[in-house]
Each structure stands twice: as structure tokens, then as C-alpha cells.
């Protein structure tokens, strides 16, 4: 699995979660500014904002810790 120059799976996971975190956080902020006409239950908890932040943090930790070296 860990061929010397192989990018670890954790980097791909970090990358994906970072992108998802940004998108979901952005979506959550948009929903605060423009509340949807038919909100889901418990929308008042703004779970999209909190979840977006969580994904972003996990994603950044993984992306940075397992970022590929220059040879890749």
C-alpha cells in the first residue's frame, strides 16, 4: 500500500472532504442569508454550517498531513 512514492488514500479522503466542507459550509451560509421557502426539520440548528466546518477541518488535517511530496 505504501509504495515509497504512492500518494496515501488519506490524502484523497482529505481532498474530498475539504471540497465537500467548503461546498456545504457555503450552502449553509447561503441558507442563513436566504432562508429556503420549505426548510427541513431542525433547520434552526444550522447543521449544514457546523457540518461544513467539521468536514473542512477534518479534510484540511488529512490533506496537509498526507500531502504528496514533490516527486508526485
Amino acid at each position: 500500500m505504501h509504495d515509497e512514492h504512492q500518494i496515501p488514500i488519506w490524502f484523497f479522503i482529505g481532498l474530498l472532504l475539504t471540497i465537500y466542507g467548503v461546498l456545504i459550509l457555503g450552502c449553509g451560509i447561503y441558507n442563513v442569508i436566504n432562508p429556503p421557502e420549505h426548510p427541513v426539520k431542525l433547520a434552526n440548528l444550522h447543521m449544514d454550517i457546523w457540518w461544513g466546518i467539521l468536514l473542512l477541518v477534518i479534510g484540511l488535517i488529512y490533506s496537509i498531513k498526507y500531502r504528496p511530496s514533490g516527486t508526485d
Partner: protein, 732 residues
């Protein structure tokens, strides 16, 4: 930079595939679909496809020999092996299916993740893994070859390859059907887009690609689903309030098991009728906990392959123990949503929402099904963005399950069928190419199976029990081979075969109806028929009149002419006097409610289209209405169990399908062990020299050197076992 290039190629491919998908979604019409995705949700799904394709392209260079393609180079760390091991089993069919089970059976559904998994996984880690690992087998059938010889290997290899592609096709069909029902996506597009994606990344990266995507999928499934239990429990007013409401609503939702306890693991298993699963503790412990669980977790090659590719034995064992730990957590995202379905899914008037099994004629016409419980909760709690993540988790689960089956198919076919039986002396490159093309072949056969299911959907009934036919006997054969050096090749072969035959025979027996299995009396009013509906007490339908059009009746006696015997089959036109069908129908002297299904009719007064389903009300047919009547009595019905026969298999007429399956597995294991031991005692065993590194007592477990206490698999296995016992006591 190469990674960037790979991303570009993947994006390019996706651009070709995705427009079909979005166009179909847009054309689907939102009203009848359970979930409506926003553009941001579609972007999230699209990014997932791009990333998995990019991973496939990237990993191609690391799968250049047969060992790297089929066994991922045997370099996995314990964590990756453990995550992959558990993810291979955590497909969307699993999460949706077991949420549905929890909705149907309450907390008992969690047993699949506790006694139905953990002891077996720990047994695999501590007892069986050394044998699998030391003999350096490529597959479980490969172990059978070394231990027993060619006969059992060929039987296991052929049955396994058949099983994997059939299951893969069934998963594909189920995925396409679910995406169609939930999102309105065209089934053909779902099948081809997912298959092409899986085909590409398994073709390029082999098992390595499959494992990478399984680990990725693990994160997506958890991060996409865990919000449902969190928000659901908040919404229900806390854990205890949720259980209380679920138990109260279960009596309304499941009236046939009104007194059953839905919120405990063991205290309701004293007899068959005190729990919703219709099973007792013996069936649960020896059927699920021993036969099914050990069969599945210890010998299903798809699972075992994930951990035998670890970099060393200790990593393989620790990976398996990590898998057990993670498995115990799955009820959080599976069982709790099922219980939440009972507690928080409500109709607009505040009454509990009733979901029905897929086999119910009202399913997807007037009522949603058990399988919809998770998507319904997603729609209730997840807004734009989060819903996309949830749906992506679902798609990822489907595709990763398919990739697992396809890569396992390629391995077993190449190593256990093609190499020993067809071409023994080819080069490594030849076997690598065979594996690559087998991946494509596996995908194509899966697609063919999926399309076969369009026309023969009853095959699904058969597929669900295939696991019981093959996996349980396989475990009996393997475990005796590992633990008993006297087990002979003839004993292994005949024990395996006898257990498969007895499994199939029991299945046929419980589905056989000497007096005929008669479907519930029902009337289906054809599309665009004109109906008048009388309502009372608000919206409750009390009478239906068919003004014109056609109806189909099943097992209903129709009083066509006064003074004459009613008729049950044929095609007629309602005479001038009209006909009234009673809401109560006598079927073999048992009174049953007449079921009336109206998927798409026109209301006489308003000319509006309507759909509904009712039971036990009278139906009036106006002159001129056409009746197509049929009387069905099947001697064999795969969808029904004959109680008069199940009592011989599962010890009680009250035993329900799940109990019958558990007991069948137990008997099958018992037959396998008995026949293998019996035949072995009268046949010649293999010489001891040939059994070295294959049988307990003849295998020296290599000393891997000292390790810190926190790397000791036995310690962690003991910790997991203690947690398992604690969970069972807490939720007793």
C-alpha cells in the same frame, strides 16, 4: 502533476456521463419522488465520480503484476485492511436494508452487528487468520485446494464466482431501482454510469483501487449518515423518549405483532411470539450467532480477501479486530434510524406514518416501503448540500460493493477456475491481463443479471438465500479442515456437497404448498378507470364505485348472476344489474379483507387523477365494467413460507421468515460437520507432511518479534468482547 492529469481525464469522462444523469433527473418530475436534489447536491455527487475515476487512473501504475492487481501487493496497514474489511460489508443495500429491518423488527435488528458478527470476526482474527495468512493463499477456495484437493476447490470456486456476479447484478438492479424511486433517475442510466465507472477503476487498479474506494466510502457513509440519528434523537426528545414513542407507535404500525417488544435485544426472545422477528433465543444464538455469522465472516472470500492482503500477520489480525470494533458502531447509523422511523416519521395529521414491505401490493402506490425509512429521514432532516452528501454516500456504497464483488470474481476466476482447470502454465502478465479483462467480464455479467431482474424480478427472492446455500457449508468444511487433521479430502467434498443440497432442500420444503399458496384476495383497478369514492369521518374511504373501465381480480368470488355459483376466473362484462363485491371475502373458510388497489384512476366528479388503496370495504361495479378474474394457487411460492412445513425446520409454526433462515443455516452447518466427520472416519486422510501450515497442531505460528502491548491483537480482541457483552447487558 500526474495526479492533476488523472483528475482531468476523470473529469473529461464524467462530463460525458453526467449530462445524461442530470437530464433524466430533471425530466423525472419531482412530485412522485422521495428526494429532490438541488444543483449543489448534483455537484457533490459529480465530484465523487471524478475523484474515484482519478484514483483508478492514478493507481494503474501500481497494479502492474498479478500480485499487485489481485492482492494489492500485500502491503496494507492494519487500519486500511480493517476499514476496507468493514466497508466491503457496509454497502447501501446493507444500510438501507438493515434500517428497514430495524423498522420492522425493532432493536433485534442490531443483533446482525453484535452476536451476528463480532464473535465470528474475532474468531477469524485470532484463530483462522494465521492459517489463511501463513499458507499465502489467494482465496478461500485456494485454501480448500491446499487442504482437501481439487474437488472442494472447484466446487467452491465455481459456486463463488457464480454467487459474486449474481449478487453484484442484484445490487446493481437494486441501486437502479432505488435511485429511480428516490430521485427519478432512469434505471438504464444508473446501471450504465455506475458500471462503467466501477469497470474503469477496477480494470485499472485492481484490488488496490477497490480497497482505496472502500476506505473512501467508509468516511462518506459515516459523515453522510450520522447526522440522521443525531438530529432524529434531538427531534424525538431524547433517547428514552424515542424508545417510548417507537414502542407505542409500533403497535399501530405493525398490528400483527401488537404485543411484541421492539426495544430490547434479549428479554423478548423467550418464545417465537414475544418479538417482532418471530424467532427464539436458540435460533438467534445458534442460527445467526454461529452458522450464518461464522459462515459469512470467516469464509466469505470477499471479506477475507480484505485482510489477508495486510503487510504481515499481526496487521492482518489487528485489521480484523479493528473491523470488529467498527462493526459494533454500525447500529448507530442503521438500527437507530429504523427505530426513529417508528418514532418520528409522521403523517401531516400527526399520526405515525405506516410503511409496508415491498411485497405488499400497496407498496409504492399508496404507501412507502420499509426500505424507504432511511431516505425518508434524509428528506426530513437534510437540506441542500447535506442531502447531496447523503445521496453520495448511498451511491458510493453501491459502487464500492459492486467493485468488491467484481475484484473478488476476477481473483477467484483467475486463480481457482482458470489457472488450475484451463491454463496452468501461463506467464504472470497473462494472468494479470486475464484479471483485468475478468473485471470487465464481471461487470458485463453483472449488467446482464441486472437486466434479467427487470423481467424476472422474482429471482431476487432466490438470490437472497444463495448465501445460505453456499457460505454456511463452506465454513463447516474450512473449519474442520483447519482444526481436525483427520478430515479427509473425500470428507470435505461430500460434507460440503451434502450441506448445499440439504440447504436447498429445506428452502424448497418451506416454500412448498401441497394445498396451494393463494395470494390475498385483491382487486386492481386499471389505469384511467373512472371511480366514485364515498368518504366518511374526514378522509376515510367507506365505499368505492367503479363507473367504467377495467378491473383485475385475484382470488375473489364474483357473483356474476343471481342464484348461480360465483365465478373466480375468466373475462366478463358487468351485467345491467351491476355487481357489489363484499369487503370481506371467504378464503378456505377464513374471512379476509378484500384489498382494493387504485394506482391511477379518474374521479367521476372532479375528473382529477387519484390513487389510493383500501381494505375491507365493499366495491360496486357499474354495468359495462370489464372484469379480468384469476384464481391463483401456487404449489411453490418463493415469496411465502408454509407454516405447516416451517415447524419442522424452525421448531414452531409461529416462526417467521428470518427464524426459518437462521434455523436452516444451523441445520446446514450441522449436516456439513456430521457428513464430513462421518466420511472422514472411513476414508484415507492426507499425509501429515502435506498438512503442515494448514491445520492446527501442524502449523508453527511465526514469531513476529516483540510488540508493544497496544499492538497485541489478543488484547484488543478481549477488549472488543467485553464491550460486546456490556452492550448486550445494557440493552438486554
Amino acid at each position: 502533476m500526474k495526479l492533476l492529469k488523472n483528475l482531468c481525464i476523470a473529469a473529461f469522462l464524467f462530463v460525458f456521463l453526467m449530462p445524461f444523469k442530470t437530464a433524466t433527473a430533471a425530466a423525472g418530475g419531482a412530485a412522485s419522488h422521495l428526494l429532490n436534489l438541488s444543483p449543489i447536491d448534483m455537484v457533490i455527487i459529480a465530484i465523487y465520480f471524478v475523484v474515484v475515476l482519478a484514483i483508478g487512473f492514478y493507481l494503474k501504475k501500481y497494479a502492474s503484476t498479478s500480485d499487485t492487481f489481485f492482492m494489492a501487493g500485500r502491503k496494507m496497514t492494519a487500519w486500511i485492511a480493517g476499514l476496507s474489511f468493514i466497508s466491503a460489508n457496509l454497502s447501501s443495500l446493507e444500510t438501507m436494508g438493515w434500517s428497514a429491518m430495524a423498522y420492522q423488527y425493532g432493536m433485534l435488528g442490531a443483533h446482525a452487528y453484535l452476536i451476528g458478527a463480532i464473535p465470528a470476526i474475532l474468531f477469524l482474527a485470532i484463530v483462522m487468520m494465521p492459517f489463511y495468512y501463513i499458507c499465502r493463499t489467494h482465496s478461500v477456495p485456494g485454501y480448500l485446494k491446499l487442504r482437501y484437493g481439487e474437488g472442494p476447490r472447484a466446487l467452491a470456486g465455481i459456486s463463488f464466482t457464480f454467487l459474486t456476479v449474481m449478487v453484484s447484478g442484484a445490487s446493481m438492479f437494486a441501486m437502479a431501482k432505488i435511485l429511480n424511486l428516490l430521485l427519478g433517475w432512469d434505471m438504464n442510466v444508473s446501471i450504465w454510469v455506475s458500471s462503467i465507472t466501477v469497470g474503469i477503476y477496477v480494470f485499472l487498479g485492481g484490488l488496490l483501487s477497490a480497497v482505496f474506494n472502500e476506505v473512501l466510502q467508509f468516511f462518506l457513509i459515516w459523515l453522510g449518515t450520522i447526522l440522521i440519528p443525531i438530529l432524529g434523537i434531538i427531534s424525538a426528545g431524547g433517547w428514552h423518549k424515542m424508545l417510548e414513542t417507537a414502542q407505542k407507535n409500533a403497535a399501530i404500525i405493525h398490528p400483527t405483532v401488537q404485543n411484541a417488544d421492539f426495544t430490547s435485544l434479549w428479554r423478548n426472545l423467550g418464545s417465537f411470539d414475544t418479538n417482532p422477528m418471530g424467532i427464539d433465543w436458540f435460533g438467534m444464538v445458534f442460527g445467526l450467532g454461529l452458522a450464518v455469522s461464522f459462515g459469512y465472516w470467516c469464509t466469505d472470500f470477499l471479506q477475507v480477501q480484505r485482510v489477508i492482503i495486510a503487510k504481515d500477520l499481526r496487521s492482518a489480525q489487528n485489521g480484523t479486530v479493528i473491523g470488529a470494533m467498527l462493526k459494533m458502531l454500525v447500529p448507530i447509523i442503521v438500527t437507530i434510524p429504523g427505530l426513529l422511523g417508528l418514532a418520528v416519521l409522521l403523517n401531516p395529521d400527526g399520526s405515525p406514518m405506516i410503511l409496508v414491505p415491498e411485497s405488499d401490493p400497496r407498496a409504492n402506490i399508496t404507501l412507502r416501503t420499509f426500505n424507504d425509512v432511511l431516505p425518508l429521514l434524509m428528506g426530513q432532516y437534510l437540506g441542500p448540500g447535506l442531502l447531496g452528501l447523503g445521496v453520495t454516500a448511498m451511491i458510493a456504497g453501491f459502487m464500492s460493493g459492486m467493485a468488491g464483488n467484481v475484484s473478488a470474481f476476477a481473483t477467484v476466476w483467475t486463480y481457482d477456475v482458470y489457472k488450475p482447470l484451463l491454463n496452468r502454465k501461463a506467464s504472470d502478465k497473462h494472468y494479470l491481463n486475464m484479471g483485468r479483462w475478468c473485471s470487465i467480464l464481471g461487470v458485463l455479467i453483472s449488467i446482464a443479471t441486472a437486466y434479467a431482474l427487470f423481467y424476472f424480478s422474482n429471482i431476487l427472492e432466490f438470490l437472497q438465500v444463495l448465501v445460505f446455500f453456499f457460505i454456511v457449508p463452506l465454513f463447516g468444511t474450512v473449519i474442520l479442515g483447519m482444526l481436525w487433521k483427520r478430515a479427509t479430502p473425500a470428507g470435505g467434498f461430500w460434507g460440503f456437497l451434502a450441506a448445499i443440497i440439504i440447504s436447498m432442500s429445506m428452502w424448497v420444503f418451506v416454500h412448498t404448498f401441497p394445498d396451494g399458496s393463494r395470494p390475498h384476495p385483491s382487486v386492481l383497478i386499471s389505469n384511467n378507470a373512472v371511480v366514485s369514492v364515498t368518504k366518511q369521518d374526514g378522509d376515510k374511504i367507506s365505499r368505492v364505485v367503479v363507473e367504467s373501465g377495467q378491473i383485475q381480480t385475484t382470488n375473489v368470488a364474483i357473483p356474476l348472476e343471481a342464484g348461480k355459483e360465483p365465478v373466480t376466473s375468466g373475462q366478463f362484462t358487468v351485467p345491467q344489474t351491476g355487481i357489489e363485491l363484499s369487503g370481506i371475502v371467504k378464503d378456505d373458510s377464513i374471512a379476509k379483507n378484500l384489498r382494493v388497489l387504485v394506482p391511477d384512476a379518474v374521479e367521476a366528479d372532479t375528473k382529477q387523477h387519484t390513487k389510493f388503496g383500501v381494505e375491507g370495504i365493499s366495491l360496486v361495479l357499474k354495468p359495462g365494467v370489464t372484469i379480468r378474474a384469476s384464481y391463483i394457487a401456487k404449489k411453490f411460492d418463493a415469496a411465502a413460507f408454509n407454516p405447516a412445513h416451517t415447524k419442522y425446520v424452525a421448531r414452531s409454526e409461529k416462526a417467521k421468515p428470518m427464524a426459518v433462515n437462521m434455523y436452516s443455516a444451523f441445520w446446514s452447518l450441522l449436516v456439513c460437520l456430521s457428513v464430513t466427520i462421518g466420511v472422514s472416519l472411513f476414508t484415507k486422510p492426507k499425509p501429515v507432511e502435506e498438512l503442515r501450515n494448514l491445520v492446527m497442531g501442524l502449523t508453527d505460528i511465526p514469531d513476529e518479534g516483540p510488540c508493544p502491548w497496544y499492538h497485541n491483537p489478543k488484547l484488543w480482541a478481549a477488549v472488543v468482547l467485553i464491550i460486546l457483552i456490556a452492550i448486550n447487558i445494557i440493552f438486554w
